[in-house]
């Protein structure tokens, strides 16, 4: 594969063939196993201390929060999102609704109002994270995940 050059000029001849062979092997190994790193980040979802599950919210509590219900439609393999009785398909529309509902609660003097994501167990994590991301865009920090099944449709 490789050979020495200019033997007459160089008093100490080094055979670089094995070195190049090893470098080739290493290069092939790293090239095959190479994958571009995806930049990752995180959302803090620290649990409230000493609160535990507060059970199913009653009717008056529901008026003090922004609640987004999510259902998994197995037949259509898609997530249905509802705010109140309204089905929201478009992301921009959902974000506007979250913003308006949250602003209404602020005006109604409910400063600690959370956004509650009430999703069925089968809903893909991606769809839940989409809603969390929308809330973060609206600078809403208090986001809660409801435990148990959402109310019937």
């Amino acid at each position: 594969m490789a050979g020495g050059a200019m033997d007459e000029d160089n008093p100490v001849a080094i055979n670089v063939t094995p070195l190049i062979d090893v470098i080739f092997c290493l290069c092939v190994f790293f090239m095959c196993s190479f994958r571009f790193k995806q930049l990752e980040g995180k959302f803090d979802t620290w649990l409230p201390k000493g609160k535990g599950s507060s059970g199913v919210a009653n009717a008056t509590d529901i008026l003090k929060e922004v609640r987004i219900a999510m259902f998994w439609d197995k037949a259509a393999a898609r997530t249905i999102r509802r705010m109140g009785t309204r089905e929201v398909r478009d992301d921009t529309e959902l974000q506007t609704l979250i913003r308006d509902s949250y602003r209404d609660l602020m005006l109604a003097n409910v400063p600690d109002a959370p956004v509650t994501i009430d999703a069925q167990a089968d809903v893909p994590w991606n769809d839940v994270m989409k809603v969390v991301n929308m809330c973060k865009r609206e600078k809403i920090d208090k986001i809660e995940f409801a435990l148990g099944a959402p109310p019937p449709q």
């Binding site: 490789a2 050979g3 050059a5 200019m6 007459e8 670089v16 070195l19 190049i20 470098i23 080739f24 290493l26 290069c27 790293f30 090239m31 196993s33 190479f34 994958r35 571009f36 790193k37 995806q38 930049l39 990752e40 980040g41 995180k42 959302f43 803090d44 979802t45 620290w46 649990l47 409230p48 201390k49 000493g50 535990g52 599950s53 999510m70 998994w72 197995k74 393999a77 999703a119 069925q120 167990a121 089968d122 809903v123 893909p124 994590w125 991606n126 769809d127 839940v128 994270m129 989409k130 969390v132 991301n133 973060k136 865009r137 995940f145 435990l147």
Partner: protein, 182 residues
């Protein structure tokens, strides 16, 4: 100055390998530095994208008080295969989804003892006044696949709470700059 010997027509052709070796070394260096040999990458999963995530703090992860839990679909092989997942669909077979901690796989039924072990390694020294008990200072990073059922992630968060861990974070991928805000 010594004059270089003119090459005879009959001499075998010689090539200078130094330039090639230099380039090979540079390539090797690039691939070695770019390779991610991290343990958490062992789980093949695709994170959901979110443009509002806090950037990852690598220094923090090198400390002992950090546990990464991957929520991923079972890998094919050993007689197991899931055509729905392999075709990119949303698999909802409950026994196909696993939790992985430091390369070991667990189900919802057997992950709690492991979480308690992790929690015990970093217990806080003082009783928390709000909780009225000793809590664990260990941070948990949940890396869930974008198709993972929300129920499994929710269950994991609930189990972390049972194991007295409350510092929980969920991971997401930062979208490339041209996709930001979509």
């Amino acid at each position: 100055m010594k004059k270089r010997k003119k090459a005879d027509v009959g001499d075998p052709p010689m090539c200078n390998l130094i330039a090639m070796v230099d380039i090979m070394f540079l390539l090797l260096l690039f691939f070695m530095l770019g390779a991610d040999m991290g343990q958490r990458e062992l789980a093949e999963l695709v994170l959901p994208k979110a443009d509002q995530v806090k950037p990852d703090d690598k220094k923090e992860k090198t400390t002992d008080k950090y546990t990464t839990i991957n929520v991923h679909h079972k890998y094919p092989g050993g007689g197991f295969s899931c055509p729905i997942n392999e075709s990119g669909g949303v698999c909802r077979e409950s026994d196909h989804w696993m939790y992985a901690i430091r390369g070991r796989e667990y189900t919802a039924a057997d992950v709690l003892p492991r979480l308690e072990e992790e929690a015990a390694e970093a217990m806080e020294t003082e009783i928390d006044p709000k909780a009225g008990q000793l809590l664990s200072g260990r941070k948990i990073l949940i890396r869930a696949d974008l198709a993972a059922p929300f129920g499994d992630v929710n269950k994991l968060i609930e189990l972390c709470g049972k194991a007295k861990m409350y510092k929980i974070e969920v991971a997401a991928a930062q979208p490339p700059p041209d996709e930001m805000g979509k």
